[in-house]
């Protein structure tokens, strides 16, 4: 045993020339199928088509247009409502209110987070407020809003602000807290302080979670708005998408109800896939903060 360990086997050294050409195949073009499967748009389109077919088949099997209209009937009602201008008008009404509420919510969230970043009492305030109000459904505030602001956009915007403010502020604040110590020190090394430090260092560094906050805020706002419009949507003779759905339900125009829901879904898909996806591509993916 000891002897075996003591003697090592002699081997000659060698140096080998390295092959510089003729590696064989290093790169191979993808097949058409691989290319299609590689595209996220293609995969998602395929899923949407499968769901539409399933809907159509189930509705035909059920054969009860009043309860569950077919995909075809819904698309037809959708086109008709677009053609006579009702649906675009209603959708625009909803989006306008939504954007107002969203914008005001973002400004308030920015102020609150800035205050929370600057002072410790501000951070406590933000944490307390978010833990109190974030779990409170916006729609629960609607009765109160109606008393305070009356039937109209004021009440809608109030509940929208409530639905945006807390999730955006909470995510931004959490994002700021997670910024690496090294990056903070780098920023201070350049002599950055106050608002310039927040805008130039903290905000880009925390952008992944800020973006998550924006997305959650958007979804909450959209949900809240449609729900609020279902309760009341008429102000000076016009209403939004929620009111459109409610109206058509009362008239038993079920395909139109589905068309209304369809519009809500489509707007959601467009905002997520066109707007937020673009922002993501140009920022956090480009910067390597998200894969």
């Amino acid at each position: 045993m000891a002897e075996a360990a003591a003697t090592t086997i002699e081997r000659p050294e060698f140096v080998r020339p390295v092959e510089t050409k003729a590696y064989g195949v290093v790169q191979k073009p993808l097949t058409a199928w691989e290319k299609i499967y590689d595209s996220g748009t293609a995969r998602k389109t395929f899923l949407l088509v499968v769901m539409a077919v399933a809907w159509e088949l189930y509705a035909r099997w059920l054969a009860s247009p009043l309860l569950f209209p077919t995909f075809g009937a819904t698309v037809k009602a959708f086109w008709d409502a677009i053609a006579d201008g009702v649906l675009p008008h209603r959708a625009w009404f909803s989006i306008k209110v939504l954007l107002q509420g969203y914008a005001i919510g973002l400004v308030l969230a920015a102020l609150l987070t800035a205050f929370a970043t600057a002072t410790r009492i501000g951070a406590d305030l933000l944490e307390t407020l978010t833990s109190m109000f974030n779990p409170l459904p916006s729609i629960a505030l609607l009765p109160l809003a109606l008393i305070w602001f009356g039937l109209g956009n004021g009440s809608l915007i109030f509940v929208l602000i409530h639905s945006v403010l807390w999730s955006v502020a909470l995510n931004t604040h959490t994002g700021f807290k997670a910024v690496s110590q090294t990056l903070r020190m780098v920023g201070r090394n350049y002599g950055l302080t106050g608002p310039r430090y927040i805008v130039k260092i903290l905000m880009p560094a925390a952008f992944p979670s800020i973006l998550t906050g924006l997305k959650i805020g958007w979804a909450f706002a959209w949900r809240t708005l449609i729900a609020a419009e279902l309760v009341f949507g008429v102000s000076s003779g016009s209403g939004g998408l929620g009111w459109y759905i409610y109206e058509n339900k009362n008239q038993l125009e079920i395909p139109a109800v589905f068309a209304g829901l369809f519009t809500v879904i489509i707007i959601g898909l467009v905002v997520e896939n066109l707007i937020f996806r673009r922002i993501e591509m140009r920022t956090i993916r480009r910067w390597g903060m998200q894969t």
Partner: protein, 263 residues
């Protein structure tokens, strides 16, 4: 070489005690440390982990205040971070991920108000060229290797032309080959521009190679043990030992004392 006494030191550290709080303890990182750095020095702080060398560097950077003693740069007491003391950190995440190499270097110049627009860009490119990254000027940090990121950080620090460049083990997280190359490049850069650098390391060979003056610190808490000269060649001392062996013996003496007091 002129005698130091005829020149004023650039950085004076006098009796500096540094303490920081953890959740349970008040830790004394260094105890009454004195040293002086002169212009164009390659001043290395060397010591085992726990000797407070990084903490000392952070204090010079202005990120923490000494509980005792004071630090002066050009006779002004250091109170807060500033662009006259540029830091190069060990971490690869010190570059701003949302800016390209060029923008990272430029941003340091513009946000500190040194230069603007075209002038900032020219200065940035001049130093990016010095670290051989011209080809990668428009790449984002996540596309670069660790060594390249550190080169950008060094370019950024040097482009600011600070009074003193503070380097906190900038090559410690690199592989041996890259580290070797970066050390040579740093010496080359120093030969070109003769900047002043305060360099923290725990590697004896690195200290001997890079430093012209080596401050040896003992651990728990950090205290000055010796200050030695080096010419970069690991010269043989009068007792027949080479410099790195001599340093090693001094550091080991500490370790053995520790053992006997603790054990």
């Amino acid at each position: 070489m002129p005698a130091p006494s005829t020149h004023k030191p650039l950085l004076q550290v006098r009796g500096v005690t540094l303490q920081y709080k953890t959740r349970e303890h008040l830790v004394t990182a260094t105890y009454r440390v004195d040293f002086e750095v002169y212009r164009a020095d390659r001043f290395v702080m060397l010591g085992p982990s726990g000797c407070g060398k990084s903490t000392l560097l952070k204090a010079v950077g202005g990120y923490m205040e000494p509980t005792e003693g004071e630090m002066r740069l050009n006779d002004e007491v250091i109170r807060k971070p500033g662009a006259d003391r540029m830091m190069v950190f060990q971490e690869f995440d010190q570059l701003l991920p949302w800016k390209t190499v060029r923008e990272n270097v430029m941003f340091a110049l513009t946000s500190s108000g040194r230069l603007k627009g075209k002038a900032a860009e020219d200065k940035a490119m001049q130093y990016i060229e010095k670290v051989n990254l011209t080809k990668f000027a428009d790449s984002f940090p996540h596309m670069l290797s660790g060594g390249m990121k550190q080169r950008v950080a060094i370019a950024r620090g040097m482009a600011m032309e600070p009074e003193i460049l503070l380097m906190d083990e900038p090559f410690a997280a690199l592989d041996a080959l890259t580290r070797r190359k970066m050390q040579e490049e740093l010496l080359q850069l120093w030969n070109d521009t003769r900047f002043t650098v305060l360099f923290v390391t725990h590697s004896i060979p690195e200290a001997v190679l890079l430093g012209n003056r080596i401050l040896l610190l003992s651990p728990h808490p950090g205290q000055v043990k010796a200050e030695l000269n080096s010419d970069g060649t690991d010269r043989t001392l009068s007792d027949g030992k080479v410099l790195s062996e001599h340093i090693q013996d001094m550091l080991f003496a500490d370790a053995i004392e520790e053992e006997s007091t603790h054990g």
